[in-house]
Structure formats: structure tokens, C-alpha cells
Symmetry: C2
Subunit: 220 residues, 2 copies
């Protein structure tokens, strides 16, 4: 006799693997977009833009699998919250990949302009945001809510770095009209990275909700 619980767990394992694959593609897209910015590499930027379709398709594919699994297995309580977490997380991952595309488009705009200054805080913001995303996905797989909580707290660091970058670039804009366009686009880049960290935080908060069932900490 077939054990439905066993089937459900198998399918959930597959969905988790799909989610991690999508997460890996999204984090790579962000990483590449910042590498493209630093190295003024427009062909890498093009690669990020072209790769977005795959991530959009995975979003729809995983969503359909989630809904079919709910229809077939009628999960309750925590199992339903787990699938709800996957459904929300793929949307966050899709938006993270969109921000990588936003950055890649800026790389193309800035490519024919002289660099404004060496990049210090932006790569640091990228590193921090992606480490948050890594830990958010890890906390989902291991159901480690301590890791999820700790990871969400790091969002304050990213916000602080964003404010620092914002203020610094503002001074460039006020001191030199010729710097305005470049500084403005870099503020956008910093803002997109700050949004990546926000989406990672969404995922972490969802994991806490998935495990505890308590909504209070959720701040979507």
C-alpha cells in the first residue's frame, strides 16, 4: 500500500530542491551584476539580463507544483504553511533576480562614463545581502529559526550601509554637476541591494512563521 505521507515528503523534498536551485540562480545573478559593475563588463551584464527568463519560468513551474501538491495531498497546518512559504519565497527570489537585471541595465548605462570612485561599500553591501539570502534559504531547509532570526537582524547592517552610501553619493552630487548622473545610478544600485536584503528578510520571517505558526514576528 502506498503511504501518502511518504509521497508528500518526497514531493516536498523535490520542491525544496527546486527552490534551492532557483535561489542559487537568483544569488548568482546579483553577484554577477555587481561583478559586471566593478569590472565594467557589459557582456556579463547582458548575461544577467538574458538569464532572467529561466528564473521567471522556474517561478511559475514551482508555483504550479505547489498548487498541485496541495490539491493532491490536502496538507494541513504546518505542511500547508511550508508550501505557503515556498510560494512566497519564489516570489521574493524572482524579485531578487529582477533587481539583478535592474543593476545590469545600469552597468550598461555607466559603461561609457569614467568611474566616479573606487567601489568599496557597494561590494560589501552585495556580500552582506547575499550572505543573508544564503542563510535564509539554509534556515528554510534546516528549519533553523535561530539562524533565521539572526539573519533577519543583519538587515539593520545593510540599511546602515545603504544610508552611508546614500549620503556619500549625495555629497558627490552636490559638489560636482558632472557627477550627478553617475552618483544617482549608484544610489539606485545601492537601493536595489538594500531591497535584496529586504527580500532575504521576508524569506527568514516566513521560515519563522512556518516553524512556529506565530504571525507576530512577520513583517512582510
Amino acid at each position: 500500500m502506498i503511504n501518502p505521507r511518504h509521497i508528500f515528503d518526497d514531493e516536498l523534498r523535490n520542491l525544496r530542491a527546486d527552490l534551492l536551485r532557483m535561489g542559487t540562480l537568483a544569488r548568482e545573478a546579483v553577484d554577477k551584476s555587481i561583478k559586471a559593475l566593478i569590472n565594467r563588463d557589459t557582456s556579463l551584464a547582458e548575461e544577467v539580463i538574458a538569464g532572467d527568463d529561466v528564473i521567471d519560468k522556474m517561478d511559475l513551474d514551482i508555483e504550479m507544483k505547489c498548487m498541485e501538491l496541495i490539491a493532491r495531498q490536502q496538507p494541513m497546518a504546518r505542511d500547508l504553511r511550508t508550501i505557503g512559504t515556498i510560494l512566497k519565497t519564489i516570489t521574493d527570489l524572482e524579485r531578487i533576480a529582477d533587481h539583478a537585471v535592474d543593476i545590469a541595465k545600469i552597468v550598461k548605462i555607466l559603461a561609457d562614463q569614467p568611474p566616479l570612485k573606487p567601489y568599496i561599500d557597494i561590494p560589501r553591501m552585495c556580500e552582506l545581502s547575499l550572505s543573508m539570502l544564503d542563510d535564509a534559504l539554509k534556515s528554510f531547509v534546516t528549519e533553523d529559526i535561530e539562524l533565521a532570526r539572526e539573519m533577519c537582524e543583519r538587515d539593520d547592517l545593510v540599511d546602515a550601509l545603504y544610508n552611508q552610501v546614500f549620503r556619500e553619493l549625495l555629497t558627490y552630487m552636490m559638489e560636482d554637476p558632472k557627477a550627478v548622473v553617475r552618483a544617482l545610478y549608484l544610489i539606485f544600485v545601492a537601493r536595489f541591494l538594500e531591497r535584496v536584503a529586504d527580500h532575504a528578510t521576508n524569506v527568514g520571517e516566513r521560515v519563522i512563521y512556518m516553524v512556529t505558526g506565530v504571525l507576530k514576528e512577520l513583517n512582510v
Copy 2:
């Protein structure tokens, strides 16, 4: 004897009503945030910020109802796509409301600074974006894919207006260092309105997918 199809249709009708209620709150939040900007009304801005919790709760509430409906009724094909559309749309509506909060926060920052210029294009962008959202939600309820297509096309108008606002504000920034901060925040406001139109477009594209089952037009 109870007719499951009848129950499903009833529950779907309730979900649609919930979605429209959430949509109304999200469009009102955006509308109020721009009114607050124009009238330098910080208490209206505070109202928008405080109201966001209600929208976040509706997001989770509708999501849970969708998943429970799938589990109980095991819908197939188009019915499943309809619920998938509701699930994605609530995320777009939640993000639209978040952008209203983003704008409201800027209203508070700009409140103690003299106005840069009379607002012309920003209210126009707001009006256009919200008319797109209205028609996207209407196309969902009436399953009118012609309206959905027509509404998605209007996104180009919003993009054109955004580029116009962006360029104009850029000249302010280059001509007067004292204008930099105000112009930058107004560029952000325009960007958030442009994102509202993008989210409305997401909803319209989803409606087309819901009705036709064809993914090709979908550009999430």
C-alpha cells in the same frame, strides 16, 4: 446533496471580494500618499504608514484561504490558475501598498523643505498607474482579456512619463546643489509610481494567463 462545484464557486466569489477589498485599500494608500505629497500633509502620510498593517494581514489571510480552498476542493486547470492568479495578485497589491508607504516616508522627509516646483507629472503618473490597477482588477473579475491587454499597453505611457520626470529632475540637480536632495527624493517617488504600474501590469498579464492558459505573454 451538496454540490461541490457550487461550494467552490461560492468560495471563489468570496475570495474575489476579499481581493477587491485589498485592492481598494492598496489604491487608496497610493492615492493618499500622493495627496499627502502635494499638500505637504504629514498626518495623511502617517495614516498611510499606519494603515499598511491591515493590508499585510489581508495578504496572509487571503493566501491561507486560497490554500485551504485548493486542499478542500482540489481544483484543476483553469480553476487552479484562477487561485494562482489570486495568490500572485495579493503579493503585487501588498507591494503596491509598500510603495505607498515608501512615498509617505518621503513626504515626511520633504515636509520641512521648500517645494522644488509645482507638481504636474507626478500626479499624472499617479492617476495613470491607479487607472491601470483599477482596470487590472476589473479585468480579473470580468475575465476580460481585451481590457487586460489594453491596460498592460498603458505601461509604456507611465514609463515615458517616468523618463520625462527623471530627466527634468536631473537638470534641477545639475543646476543647483541645493535642489539635489529634494529632486532625488522626487525621482524616488516617480520610480515608486512607475513600480505601481509594473505591479498592475503583472496582474493584467496574470489575468491573460488565467483565461487563456498561455504563458507566452507573461512577463513577470
